[in-house]
C-alpha cells in the first residue's frame, strides 16, 4: 500500500483584485469576474519565489508526516517558474529541508501539470520499493503579460506531498495519464511572458485532456462520478473546472473544498495540488478523492485516493489551506504589484 503520508501548502499573503488590474488596462472587471469566476489572486512577496514557497510547503508536509527528513529518497519540484534557467530548484529545497546529500532530485516542467508529474513519479518510486519516502512539490510564481488575460489569474503558491507506505493518510487507488501534443500555451527560452492560443486553450486543450483522463480512469477503476466524495480539477480560472465537472456528471458538493481559483488565482503547478490539500483538510476517513491536473502542451494526470483514519490525526499539525487563503491578507495596488513582480524597468 502506498499513498500520501504528509501534505502542506504555502500561499503568499499578498493579493490583488481583478478590478485593480482591470482599472489599469481599461477592461471590464465585472465581465471578467463573472465570465471567469475570478475575483482576486495571490501575489508573491519580492523575497518569495518557487524555491521559498516549495520549502515552506514542504516544511508543513514534514510537520504533518512527522518523519525524519533523511528518510526522503527523492525530491521533485514541478514548476514553470524555477528561479534559475540552469541550476536545480530541487537542490536548494533539499538542502533547506536537511535532506541532502543522499537524495535524488529533479526539476520538472509541464506548464500547470508539473506538480502532479512529481506526485506521479514519487508515488510510483515508493510503490516499487526503491525508497521509503519521496517528496513531490508543485510550486509557481507565474507571470502573465501586462494587460493579457493571464495577468488576471497568474498567481503564486505551493503544495507538497510526502509519499510513503507507513501512516498513510490518503492511499493511492489508481492513476491514469492522458497526453497529446497540443500547442495551447508556451514560453520560449528567454521570453519573460508566456503566449497562448486564446479560446483554443478551452475545448481542444483543457477540456479534451481533462475529459480524456477522467473517462479513462473511470473505465480503468470501474467507478462512476457519484462514487467520489470529492473532486479536484486543475483550475486555470473558476469557470473551466466547474463547467467540466458538471458536464462529466459531478456536483458542486464534490468540488466545493478543492475549488480555490476564485480568490487564489491560478497557481499553475500548485493549482490542483493545493486543491487536493484543501480537500484533505476537510475530508473524513474512508473517502474517495479524484484529482485531475492539466498542463498545457498538453496533458492530464488523474489520481484516485482513498483517505484513511490517520488523516484526521494530522490535519491540524500545520496551517490549513483556507487559513492561508483567507487570513492576514494584504491587498496591493497595481503599482506595488508591478514592483513586486519586477514589471518596472529600471537601469541596470
Amino acid at each position: 500500500m502506498v499513498g500520501i503520508i504528509g501534505y502542506g501548502t504555502q500561499i503568499p499573503r499578498y493579493r490583488i483584485k481583478v478590478e485593480e488590474i482591470a482599472k489599469v488596462w481599461g477592461a471590464d472587471a465585472a465581465a471578467l469576474s463573472n465570465g471567469l469566476n475570478l475575483f482576486e489572486k495571490s501575489v508573491p512577496a519580492p523575497d518569495e519565489d518557487t524555491a521559498t514557497l516549495a520549502v515552506s510547503a514542504a516544511k508543513n508536509a514534514l510537520a504533518r508526516a512527522g518523519i525524519d527528513p533523511k528518510l526522503i529518497g527523492a525530491v521533485y519540484v514541478g514548476s514553470e517558474s524555477h528561479p534559475y534557467a540552469v541550476k536545480p530548484t530541487g537542490t536548494i529545497v533539499s538542502e533547506a529541508l536537511g535532506i541532502c546529500p543522499y537524495v535524488h532530485t529533479a526539476d520538472l516542467e509541464f506548464a500547470c501539470k508539473a506538480g502532479t508529474e512529481g506526485m506521479f513519479i514519487a508515488l510510483h518510486l515508493v510503490k516499487t520499493g526503491v525508497m521509503e519516502c519521496a517528496l513531490a512539490i508543485g510550486a509557481d510564481t507565474s507571470q502573465g503579460a501586462p494587460g493579457d488575460a493571464l495577468e488576471y489569474s497568474a498567481s503564486a503558491g505551493a503544495a507538497a506531498f510526502i509519499m510513503g507506505t507507513k501512516n498513510i493518510v490518503a492511499e493511492l487507488v489508481d492513476t491514469q495519464c492522458y497526453m497529446t501534443d497540443t500547442p495551447d500555451f508556451w514560453r520560449r527560452e528567454n521570453a519573460h511572458y508566456p503566449e497562448h492560443g486564446g479560446r483554443f486553450t478551452g475545448k481542444p486543450a483543457y477540456q479534451k485532456h481533462v475529459f480524456g483522463a477522467v473517462k479513462a480512469i473511470l473505465e480503468k477503476t470501474g467507478m462512476k462520478p457519484k462514487d467520489f466524495d470529492y473532486l479536484v480539477f486543475h483550475q486555470p480560472n473558476g469557470k473551466f473546472p466547474v463547467q467540466a465537472a458538471k458536464q462529466l456528471g459531478f456536483t458542486e458538493a464534490q468540488y466545493r473544498y478543492g475549488l480555490l481559483t476564485p480568490t487564489l488565482g491560478n497557481t499553475y503547478s500548485g493549482s490542483s495540488p493545493i486543491g487536493l490539500a484543501a480537500t484533505l483538510d476537510e475530508a473524513g476517513s474512508d473517502q474517495l478523492i479524484l484529482l485531475v491536473s492539466y498542463g498545457s502542451g498538453a496533458g492530464s494526470d488523474a489520481f484516485v485516493f482513498r483517505t484513511t483514519k490517520h488523516l484526521l490525526k494530522i490535519q491540524n499539525l500545520a496551517p490549513r489551506v483556507r487559513k492561508q487563503l483567507n487570513k492576514h491578507l494584504t491587498y496591493l495596488e497595481y503599482g506595488e504589484y508591478a514592483k513586486f513582480r519586477g514589471k518596472i524597468l529600471k537601469p541596470e
Partner: protein
C-alpha cells in the same frame, strides 16, 4: 557577498543549523569551533526551531547597496526558543505595528542576488508568527 562565502554559510542560512556543546550544553549560532563558555571542542549539530521573540528592532529607510528596492524594512534581534539571539530581517509585516515582544518565526526567503544573471542568495528571515 561572494559565492564561496554564501555556500560556506548554507547550513546556518538555509536551515538555521547551530551547535550544542557536549560539555556545558551552550548553543552557539552560527556554529563555532570552540565553545565560548567552556572552551570545549566537541559539539552536536541541532537545527533551531525558528520560533522566537522580538527583542529590539530598527527600520532601515536608507538601504545599503542591493537592498534599495525593499526599503523600508525592519531588522531586529530575535531571542530564539533555544535561548540564542539572532539578528535578521523581518519581512511580511506591518512596520508601524511591529513591537518588541512580538512572536516571530523564521522563513526561508530570498536575501539578495548578484544582479539579474548572478547567484540568488537565500537565507532565513523572520515573519510574525500568525499561524500561516
Amino acid at each position: 557577498m561572494n559565492v564561496p562565502r554564501h555556500w560556506r554559510e548554507t547550513p546556518e542560512r538555509y536551515r538555521m543549523e547551530a551547535v550544542k556543546c557536549r560539555k556545558c550544553g551552550k548553543i552557539s549560532f552560527p556554529a563555532r569551533l570552540i565553545c565560548p563558555e567552556c572552551k570545549n571542542k566537541v559539539f552536536d549539530k541541532i537545527n533551531l526551531s525558528g520560533k522566537g521573540k522580538l527583542l529590539t528592532y530598527t527600520i532601515i529607510r536608507t538601504a545599503p547597496e542591493g537592498f534599495e528596492d525593499v526599503a523600508p524594512y525592519a531588522v531586529g534581534i530575535v531571542e530564539m526558543e533555544e535561548g540564542v539571539r539572532v539578528m535578521g530581517q523581518i519581512t511580511d509585516c506591518d512596520l508601524l505595528s511591529l513591537k518588541t515582544g512580538d512572536k516571530l518565526i523564521s522563513k526561508f526567503r530570498r536575501m539578495n542576488e548578484e544582479g539579474k544573471t548572478g547567484l540568488i542568495m537565500y537565507s532565513y528571515k523572520f515573519v510574525p508568527d500568525i499561524g500561516i
